[in-house]
């Protein structure tokens, strides 16, 4: 009843091509942004900000990065955590070694470092694809972590490669409280997500999807595979790199290379699968789901079963639920939570008169 586009006529091309063509969508998005920008900082406790909202936003960004590569350009990657590590260590080194480096510029430069590394490890994608490419990105995962641990220069010669993020200062203001850090993360993630959404709607995004759907046909119609694939690797790694920098600066504060292990790569991959392959919204949904699931299992499952579970069992239960959900989603809804949302929207448009 409320969600209906009847009477909304588009009279120019610009109107026809805007991101949210339906007025209700625009209102909803504005409301969501307002809630997260104004109301959440006022009401949320530091625990909520620090342990749930900030990591969700950061993982959403990383998931967007992987989604660009895997969902839009069709190149499977198992090394996204390593690119996050490059971003984190890159930003750290820029702040450390360049006096007066603005923090936002350091984040961007960290992302660019990750993009450069991503291009190097994306080179094999020109000859191989699918599982073989997954092995190549696995090489990136292990090699990068090894290099970050082995060469002390990257971590300013601290023991076992641990870095402690410097203070986050923007125009003289020190952002130290969880609320400040949350707002900084929110702004960066929102801007980058908007950029990603527009990028995948553009000619570049269409080229990526053409390569994904059939590379030979894409080449025939004049899309250059070399440029397109490497661009996908670069943009994807840039997003992962910025996410990594945020992970170090606004979420944990202290990170070591081991924290960016294969497990994290898999978690990001799961976010993409569960949220929806090839969907920016899905990246947010998937990240939220994966961040909240362990908390849910820890806090709400024991009362539900009537007694507390032993600590070891909960973590194994988590593995079982994760694994089961992955298979469930691949079998039942290969396009993930984003597709469920789309179906709900279609239903809502017709409700309450389904004919």
């Amino acid at each position: 009843m409320l969600y209906r586009e009847a009477g909304q006529f588009r009279t120019s091309y610009a109107e026809d091509q805007q991101i949210f063509p339906i007025r209700q969508d625009r209102i909803a998005v504005a409301l969501i942004v307002a809630v997260f920008l104004v109301i959440t900082p006022l009401v949320a406790s530091p625990y909520w900000l620090q342990a749930i909202l900030i990591p969700t936003l950061i993982f959403s960004l990383a998931a967007i990065g992987l989604n660009i590569l895997t969902g839009y350009a069709g190149q499977l990657s198992l090394g996204s955590a390593a690119f996050m590590a490059v971003g984190a260590f890159g930003a750290y080194n820029f702040v450390l070694r360049v006096p007066g480096m603005p923090i936002l510029a350091a984040f961007a430069l960290g992302g660019l470092c990750a993009a450069g590394v991503g291009i190097v490890f994306g080179l094999p994608s020109l000859r191989i694809k699918g599982l073989y490419l997954a092995v190549a990105t696995l090489a990136a995962q292990f090699f990068i972590l090894w290099a970050l641990t082995k060469f002390g220069w990257f971590s300013n010669h601290s023991s076992s490669g641990v870095i402690t993020a410097q203070k986050v200062t923007i125009l003289g203001y020190v952002l130290a409280s969880p609320v400040n850090k949350y707002l900084l993360t929110l702004v960066i993630v929102s801007v980058l997500a908007l950029a990603a959404k527009n990028l995948v709607r553009s000619a570049t995004g269409r080229a990526w999807m053409a390569i994904r759907d059939m590379d030979v046909a894409a080449e025939v119609i004049g899309i250059r595979p070399l440029r397109t694939k490497l661009l996908a690797f670069a943009v994807s790694s840039f997003y992962c790199g910025v996410a990594g920098a945020l992970y170090a600066y606004t979420y944990l504060g202290t990170v070591d290379p081991e924290g960016f292990g294969l497990d994290l790569s898999f978690r990001i991959l799961f976010m993409v699968i569960i949220g929806g392959v090839g969907s920016i919204l899905g990246s947010f949904l998937g990240a939220t789901f994966i961040v909240l699931l362990p908390i849910f299992l820890d806090n709400f499952l024991p009362p539900l079963l009537g007694h507390s579970l032993p600590a070891g069992l909960t973590s194994n239960l988590q593995l079982i639920v994760f694994g089961g959900l992955i298979i469930f989603f691949l079998v039942v809804e290969p396009y993930g939570l984003a597709r469920l949302w789309q179906i709900a929207k279609e239903k809502l448009r017709l409700w309450p008169f389904p004919h």
Partner: protein, 297 residues
């Protein structure tokens, strides 16, 4: 020179252990075209079940048979719940499903048997053979040699099974062409169950060998990752390739660690096999013995 040979032989023998894990991948890939990322988890599950049964006082061989039975059950479950609903999906979807499967099996194994590291005693020491040591001065571990013999026996059995029996021929037919196999009346789902069950039993053997050497622990699941470069070098659909790939990876990893490692600060074992595999991909993308069907763009 003597040192070189000692490192080389040690590498080759540990490479055989990689081959044992890679074999399971090859079997499943040949028959169902699925790249089974959960093979490492299956190794872990099998080893943990076996050790758990032994701790309950079950005799060695009975425990072995019971674990095999458990692996068969697991195979039937996987076929019913994962493979059948996902039939005709793109390869990459199935691959991601097996990643989920790996997590599921890991959680299941630890949930049932606990996460503690357990030892497994086969009665064979990890000591150098005295006879060879005296003659040539090269130390060859008894245990590694035993593992090599076990894998040789296993490969022979599998080769005979694939080439001489009716079921083996059906497996090869399915591997060749699913539709043609269906058309001449080979029950695809049975074949999948059989091949996953065999891969489960191979995983048990691999798990027992690795468990006896390093202890039965969660790290066993990472074997799957080490088996990937083995498969790429050997060719993803060749049993001989899995063996040879394992030998190459094992030898080059150890030699690389000893001779190249000091130049860059050591610890290169973690990524050296992958870089080897990458180089191989550039030169010979189908592997040493694999069929040529990699698409290039």
């Amino acid at each position: 020179m003597q040192f070189f040979f000692e490192v080389l032989i040690g590498g080759l023998l540990s490479g055989i252990m990689y081959s044992l894990v890679a074999l399971g991948f090859v079997l499943i890939y040949k028959a169902s075209g699925v790249f089974n990322f959960a093979q490492g988890a299956m190794v872990f599950f099998a080893a943990l079940t076996f050790v758990g049964l032994l701790e309950l006082g079950v005799p060695f061989w009975l425990g072995f048979i019971l674990t095999c039975a458990a692996m068969v059950l697991l195979a039937v479950g996987i076929e019913r719940l994962v493979l059948r609903p996902l039939v005709n999906q793109p390869q990459i979807t199935l691959f991601m499903a097996t990643i989920g499967l790996a997590f599921f099996i890991e959680g299941l194994a630890q949930g049932v048997w606990g996460a503690a590291v357990r030892g497994l005693e086969l009665g064979i020491q990890d000591q150098p053979l005295a006879w060879v040591m005296d003659r040539t001065g090269i130390g060859i571990s008894k245990f590694d040699l035993f593992a090599a013999v076990v894998s040789a026996v296993l490969v022979t059995i599998l080769a005979v099974f694939f080439n001489k029996t009716r079921v083996g021929r059906a497996l090869r037919a399915v591997a060749d062409d699913h539709q043609a196999a269906l058309a001449i009346g080979i029950p695809l789902q049975n074949i999948w169950r059989i091949v996953w069950a065999i891969a489960g039993c191979v995983a048990l053997v691999a798990g027992v060998m690795w468990g006896a050497r390093n202890g039965v622990q969660f790290a066993l699941t990472f074997l799957a990752l080490k088996a990937l470069p083995v498969l790429i070098i050997g060719g993803i659909d060749s049993i001989a390739g899995a063996i040879l790939g394992g030998l190459i990876i094992g030898a080059s990893e150890k030699l690389g660690e000893v001779y190249v490692g000091p130049l860059v600060g050591g610890g290169i074992e973690s990524w050296f096999p992958y870089v080897m595999a990458l180089l191989f991909l550039l030169i010979r993308p189908e592997g040493l013995f694999g069929e040529k069907h990699i698409e290039r763009v």
